[in-house]
């Protein structure tokens, strides 16, 4: 059944392929001449490579090539080029690829991997961000000064482990604290964890006789893959063609480029034959990038009536062994460092530090789930000290039009939305007024905690998107866009926006589910909850382009001025006399007069978009504009706590989000619920543990736990709709946000239940027991 336009639930376009298992993902595309590559990984977190003995593996029949770091002494990186595809001379994290085997079958490759012997000389490890910045700490990268820096706003401190520092200096923080009646201070320690997308990362490469490189990959950034392969290996961009089929979950983990480079060198080593490289779950967790860790120190002050006056904070972001997107992660932290609250005096230092942990990359929420944990725990501490309802404290201080952000961007109703409405609605749906701590039986406490969130984006200031529209002769449309379908039904949203603009049945709009950089217009990256905004704007422009062309053609045929014409319901008609019309199908491939004469030809639509008025933040004060809008919201978690056992279970999790306009209600609800589920996982169980040598201990799903379906609480989702006037049909991005405040809301609920300050994650019963009893039986 068809539907027209936005605001109503439509089933995702690829639903049938997905539920029947027909949808194909990268590693499903295998031809019988495809070779298989597999990586050998480091068993140390920091060590010199003394020798790699490949002799017995190389003599194994079926082994086509074995590569080590010595074969490709190159460095790559999105921001700082600090990363060898295969470790050369030194390994910097447990699980780092040290050699690559290419063989005629997965079996031979696996067998060869087991036969490669690497000899290491262990080096002292950096096992935490605070160790990394300690005096005389060993350096993870001794030659940082030689690295090329690919972006302007990166400020490394050479001869330290700090690869970037970002600052906010707003107002006068010393004076601000003198105005405070109440000051709270705390420290936070948040561990690394992993994305655990259902589809592990996978890439294939081949090089044809003309030297054209074909990469097929599970990536959120096909155009970035093209640029990086082109740059690192000095190949014309036109000769690097990247294809992305369906992606089985990204969560930010498939935004960076890693396996594509390995697949390329694997193919190059076998004369350009097709090679596939797919991560095992274990490699996907530690060898490929994971989620950041964070240490933070906070001081927050307010007057007696709860008005925030000043905040001082220091963040140490654990970027692991390589920088990848780490510098942008600390940028994202400082940009939103106050939480969505009005604080005029802000002093914030954020450092991106190397450690000998697995390297990190973007992860749903782009640092916000971690920073919000700190800020929102601080708000609860303050509320407690002020003896004030935490909801009231938040309500009183919520940003509103006329305020400025930490980077001094003026807050408007359009770019920010309405946080106070979200807080009020949240209080309603979670029944806040019944009390945040209720005894419900012997040793059982029901407790609620809340948290607010806001998030803007941190794209390059010139990030682009684009759309091409072509028509079939029956009048239906093909929509070609460069965003990747990695789960949130972006392609369907693009069709929905076009359907609204052209008042056309969504089933008559066909969207390319795959992306091919040769044919699809560039879309920056499918990340940052920016796709609806960027692709949507491009769709609207493309729609206007075809409306203009259709009207101009129909005006000739209908002998009327083009401005009198309307395009809707697959017709072009005269506005004041709809009986005068032409069906689209008679126009879209040119109009043919009764005598056979034809004019105009195919209608081809194009729409382009580029971020406007974003700028680079000032190095000293952080002043500047990093993203076009925020999405704000308020979240709560209700738990039942057992005072005797120090255990708890989830009862409810709730989100009220200002969506601007809800385009596809059920899909939006599902996205937010999925985010909450991940947030509960981060809050309650997900983390990497390391041994004393900084080796990750939970390298498989045997011991690394994610939320199981049966453990999910009742989810409540509600929307506020404050129009974002520059967004397609006023809709804000909402893809990531469900996760952001949930760990904090859980921390707040448990702290209330337990009567203890729970400032670390994940919150497991043992931690609570330890807090309460000091570990004494």
């Amino acid at each position: 059944m068809g539907s027209i336009g936005v605001g109503q639930t439509v089933i995702r376009k690829e639903a049938w392929e997905k539920v029947t298992g027909q949808a194909k993902y990268t590693d499903d595309f295998i031809s019988n001449d495809t070779l298989t590559a597999q990586i050998v990984t480091s068993t140390y977190a920091h060590a010199k490579i003394q020798k790699i003995d490949v002799s017995s593996a190389a003599s194994l029949p079926g082994v086509k090539a074995i590569l080590t770091g010595e074969d490709y002494p190159i460095l790559f990186g999105q921001l700082i080029e600090d990363h060898p595809p295969l470790a050369k001379g030194i390994v910097r994290y447990y699980g780092e690829p040290v050699a690559l085997v290419v063989a005629d079958s997965a079996f031979t490759a696996a067998k060869a991997v087991a036969m490669i012997h690497v000899f290491y000389e262990p080096l002292p490890v950096i096992g935490s961000p605070s160790q990394a910045v300690a005096a005389n700490a060993p350096l993870v990268h001794e030659q940082m000064i030689l690295y090329e820096i690919a972006q302007k706003d990166i400020y490394p401190k050479y001869n330290t482990n700090i690869c970037d520092q970002k600052k906010i200096r707003k107002g006068d923080v010393e004076r601000g604290f003198t105005q405070c009646d109440c000051i709270v201070e705390a420290e936070f320690h948040l561990p690394q964890s992993d994305h655990i997308a259902m589809e592990t990362r996978s890439a294939q490469a081949r090089i044809d006789a003309s030297g054209t490189v074909y990469i097929k990959t599970a990536s959120q950034s096909p155009f970035n893959v093209k640029k990086i392969i082109s740059k690192v290996f000095q190949i014309d961009q036109s000769k690097v063609i990247v294809e992305v089929p369906f992606v089985g979950g990204g969560f930010g983990g498939k935004a960076p480029v890693q396996l594509e480079i390995l697949a390329y060198i694997a193919s190059a080593s076998v004369g350009g034959r097709a090679v596939r490289l797919t991560n095992s779950r274990e490699n996907d967790m530690v060898s490929s990038p994971c989620r950041m860790g964070l240490e933070a120190k906070f001081k927050l002050g307010a007057t007696r009536d709860g008005m925030l006056q000043a905040v001082q904070m220091e963040y140490l972001l654990d970027t692991g062994a390589y920088s990848d997107i780490g510098p942008t992660l600390i940028k994202a932290i400082i940009v939103d460092c106050t939480g969505p609250y009005k604080i005029d005096n802000v002093y914030c230092d954020a450092f991106c530090v190397y450690t000998n942990h697995p390297y990190v990359t973007s992860y749903r929420g782009f640092s916000h789930a971690s920073s919000a944990f700190c800020i929102e725990r601080m708000m609860d501490k303050l509320a407690q000290k002020l003896n004030m309802d935490p909801a009231e404290l938040r309500y009183k201080n919520a940003l509103r039009p006329g305020c400025t952000s930490p980077t001094q961007v003026e807050i408007t109703s359009s770019n920010f939305g309405d946080l106070n409405s979200c807080i009020s609605k949240l209080q309603e749906i979670i029944n806040w007024s019944e009390g945040t701590r209720v005894e419900v039986g012997e040793n059982k406490i029901r407790a609620k905690g809340m948290a607010c969130f806001w998030k803007t984006s941190n794209s390059p200031t010139d990030a682009v998107s684009g759309v091409f529209l072509t028509f079939n002769t029956d009048g239906s449309i093909n929509l070609n866009c460069g965003c990747v379908e990695c789960g949130p039904s972006m392609k369907t949203t693009a069709a929905q926006i076009l359907s609204e603009k052209l008042k056309m049945d969504i089933n008559r709009i066909h969207v390319n589910m795959d992306v091919n950089t040769k044919y699809s217009p560039e879309h920056w990256k499918t990340v940052a909850s920016m796709t609806t905004y960027m692709v949507g704007r491009a769709v609207l422009r493309a729609a206007e382009d075809v409306i203009r062309q259709l009207s101009s053609l129909a005006a000739v045929v209908l002998r009327c001025p083009p401005e009198d014409l309307e395009v809707a319901y697959e017709k072009v008609y005269v506005r004041h006399d709809p009986s005068l019309f032409l069906p689209l199908k008679e126009l879209v491939h040119g109009y043919k007069y009764p005598n056979g004469n034809s004019v105009e030809g195919q209608i081809l639509g194009r729409g382009s978009f580029i971020m406007s008025d974003l700028n680079v933040l000032d190095q000293e004060t952080g002043k500047g504009k990093s993203g076009p809008f925020w999405t704000v919201g308020a979240q709560a978690v209700e738990i039942e706590y057992d005072e005797k056992e120090y255990t708890y279970r989830f009862v409810k999790a709730a989100t009220v989000i200002d969506a601007g306009r809800v385009l596809n209600p059920k899909m939006a609800e599902g996205l937010v619920k999925g985010g909450m589920c991940m947030g509960l996982g981060l809050g309650s169980r997900e983390s990497f543990s390391y041994d004393e040598e900084a080796r990750v201990q939970d390298t498989s799903l045997r011991t690394y736990k994610v939320m199981h379906f049966g453990e999910t609480p009742k989810y409540l989702v509600s929307f506020v709709e404050t129009p974002q006037i520059d967004a397609p049909y006023h809709a804000r991005g909402i893809a990531e946000h469900g996760i952001i405040g949930i760990p904090a809301a859980l921390g707040n609920a448990l702290s209330v239940a337990v009567h203890a300050e729970l400032d670390e994650l994940p919150l497991v019963p043992e931690t609570i027991w330890h807090m309460k009893t000091g570990g004494i039986l």
């Binding site: 696996a110 056992e645 543990s689 011991t703 043992e766």
Partner: protein, 277 residues
Amino acid sequence: MIPFEFDYYKPASIREATEAFTLLDTAGKNPVYYGGGSELISMARLGNLHFGSVIDIKEIPECKILGYDQDNQLVLGSALTLSDICESKQFPLLEKTAGRIADHTMQCKITLGGNLASTLIYRETVLPLLLVDSKITVAGIDGVRDFPISQIFEKRLNLPKGSFAVRVSTKKGMISSPYFHIKKTRNEKIDYPLMTVAGIKTGGQLRIAFSGLMPYPFRSVRVENILNDTNDNSVRAMEVVNLLSDKILDDLNGSCEYRKFVLKNTILNVLDTMKEV
């Protein structure tokens, strides 16, 4: 991908299986018996286990028995999956125990024999069997023999080389004893046990067995003696903790001290709930 070659055998009888073992062993084929594969496959894939041949016992009729024999004993074949056992509803404590091992997908793969002979330290299905004095029938090259579980299971299933567990038999009367089963995890419901405690009450006396508390599952008569004396509950709970304390695990799932706390609490729970039973 399992990075080595191995031969696969699927015998139709006990005798074929044990003979295959002897032949393969003599030929240097390093054979292992194979049930559900959940452990062998995943460990071999990661290079933690190596074998030259597997002997799949899932088609041997005696390994798939589920029912009562002429002595009114419940007989469970070693190749039954945990989910077969749960669905049969024949042995409530075993059903409860098996139903809390891994997730449902894995319960449809993991076999009773595989869990008993697991290389992991938990082997939770042994807890009910230790409590109800089950017999394990073992097939070896010399034929088939029954062993009382307490004799063949000491920390692990100590099978003579070349033999495998065929079935487990339990007297009907014991199966219906009042029981308890408490599984504690770090936080996630589906996880290895921080500690699993199972027990029954028979003849007015409590029996108790543990998994996850030490690097092996065990039933402890000394703990039972403490539980069955007449001291105050909290005194008895502390006595149990003190008795076991120097061997308690300290690992990623939980520290030794925390396990002691959970143990104490769990014992208190057990004493309380089993008091009137």
